[in-house]
């Protein structure tokens, strides 16, 4: 499972805030490789909430650029759950599905790279938030190398 976790706003002296939760996400395709237009299904589990109630949860699918240029980002799918009723439906575990657009495809260029990922972002009443990113591949474009 390829995931990167990072934290948003964290307040107070180190050690006073509760530990951040662990978010695991499993794709429908074991290889995490999809064709444009294909459906992506994902299941996730959030561990380590320690009884703390989330204020909101955001689920998104997006592409972003990496490389020499400034980062560009395009959100294709976005859901936000912020009422108690809807949060209970999606925390601590949930599933969702989305159909990929025809473009852009994942690309490993020399100075421009395009990546697709699913992000889960959880917000707490204390103001802190935690995001987990899960990269997947769209299309089968080979990496570029200098001629």
């Amino acid at each position: 499972m390829n995931a990167a976790d990072s934290h948003g706003a964290a307040h107070g002296p180190a050690g006073s805030a509760p530990p951040f939760p662990r978010m695991e996400l499993r794709f429908g395709h074991p290889g995490r490789r999809y064709e444009p237009g294909e459906w992506v299904t994902a299941e996730y589990i959030i561990d380590g909430l320690n009884g703390e109630r989330p204020r909101a949860l955001e689920r998104s699918a997006l592409w972003y650029t990496e490389g020499k240029g400034e980062e560009d980002l395009g959100v294709y799918f976005f859901e936000r759950f912020s009422t108690p009723e809807t949060i209970d439906r999606v925390v601590p575990e949930g599933t969702f599905a989305l159909q990929l657009p025809p473009s852009p495809l994942s690309y490993e260029g020399v100075i421009v790279k395009i990546r697709w990922c699913i992000r889960l972002r959880i917000f707490f009443d204390t103001g802190r938030d935690h995001v987990s990113e899960h990269v997947f591949t769209v299309g089968r474009v080979p990496p570029s190398i200098l001629p």
Partner: protein, 360 residues
């Protein structure tokens, strides 16, 4: 105790430290600008009441400003208020919102718990528009591609430089001439004029050379049988090269170029790099018919594994047809014709016909 940092550094593809503190610092900066605009504006407006130092008992209640002087005076505080105010509104509107929510809000309506793709998903997101590439019909094939030549911009740059520089030279020369007619000789001004004249003559020479180079080799035309292009398909390309000279070689090829725009300090820079070259055809010792043009029609196959054209605010991946020619007695020139390649799935590659016939 870890203190917050207002200024963060980009490490890899993620920024460090707290987004909330960064937004707070940004908001503080814009608030200071608004405050400076208000204070500056009030000082200027209330500064209409002054006094004469020679006569401290008398007070000037009104300053004789014209309307345009007021406009100039208030320009700075109004600019500060506008820049600071718009920045402050933006910070307040995005306060506490995640990067994904801000990006999604710009293109889609967010509903509670309702999944949905962003606007534009029905089309082909992040693929550049073809409108400017398909608005000119060809003589033989369907489309005549527009030329994107950096030489034209160089020509404009040289022309502007020569014009502006020589305007300064004329002003200096008039001053020197007036002095000489009046019977005085300002050696400092004459000494200054000499290097200015040298640079001015050089600028004119560069401009004339650029004009001769761009007009003497003749125009280049490229037509294509269909557009936008799809990986795995074959197209017809017609090349037309004008000129009365002998060309030692002419090469036609397809190139993939990556473009990345980044900020370095206060500068914005753009780097371009060609990451793939596909030779299409080449000709040696070409002599166009006098009064006519050299013409050739060749097949062009887009590689089946080609990356599609991509364009976002700071990054781009662009395909272009490139003509490289080496005239017999002139420097080599390159002419670029951008094209758009669409993405294709593995299933589509097998379904498409091998060739797209030319339309005459």
């Amino acid at each position: 105790m870890r203190f917050p940092r207002f200024f963060t550094k980009k490490r890899g593809h993620r920024r460090t430290d707290s987004q909330a503190w960064g937004s707070f610092a940004e908001g503080l900066f814009y608030a200071l600008l608004v405050g400076a605009g208000v204070v500056f504006g009030l000082l200027l407006v209330t500064g209409a009441v002054t006094y004469a130092p020679a006569d401290p008992d008398s007070v000037v209640l009104q300053r004789g400003y014209e309307w345009w002087m007021w406009l100039l005076t208030l320009l700075m505080p109004v600019a500060l208020l506008a820049f600071g105010g718009s920045g402050l509104v933006r910070v307040v509107r995005t306060w506490g919102k995640s990067q994904e929510r801000r990006a999604a809000a710009s293109g889609a309506v967010i509903l509670e718990g309702l999944a949905g793709p962003s606007a534009g998903a029905a089309g082909r997101p992040a693929i550049p528009s073809c409108d400017n590439l398909e608005n000119s019909p060809g003589i033989v094939l369907r489309y005549r591609l527009p030329l994107e030549s950096p030489e034209n911009w160089s020509l404009v740059g040289f022309g502007l430089f020569a014009l502006l520089w020589n305007a300064v030279v004329v002003v200096l020369a008039v001053g020197v001439g007036a002095d000489l007619i009046g019977g005085t000789t300002d050696w400092l001004l004459i000494g200054l004029l000499v290097p200015f004249v040298v640079v001015g003559v050089g600028g004119v020479a560069l401009f004339v050379r650029s004009v001769v180079l761009s007009t003497s080799v003749g125009p280049t035309h490229v037509e294509i049988s269909d557009h936008p292009l799809v990986p795995g398909r074959r197209y017809d390309v017609r090349l037309g090269q004008g000129g009365a000279h002998l060309f030692r070689s002419i090469e036609l090829g397809l190139e993939l170029e990556e473009t990345a725009t980044f900020r370095q300090g206060t500068d914005t820079r753009t780097q371009r790099i060609v990451v793939r070259r596909v030779p299409v055809s080449g000709w040696q010792r070409v002599q166009p018919v006098p009064g006519g043009i050299f013409e050739a029609r060749v097949p062009l196959t887009i590689p089946a594994d080609a990356m599609h054209s991509f364009s976002s605010e700071n990054n781009a991946v662009q395909w272009r047809i490139v003509v490289r020619a080496q005239p017999d007695r002139w420097p080599e020139f390159i002419r670029i014709f951008p094209v758009v390649v669409l993405p294709v799935t593995a299933a589509e590659v097998g379904a498409v016909p091998e060739s797209v016939e030319a339309m005459g």
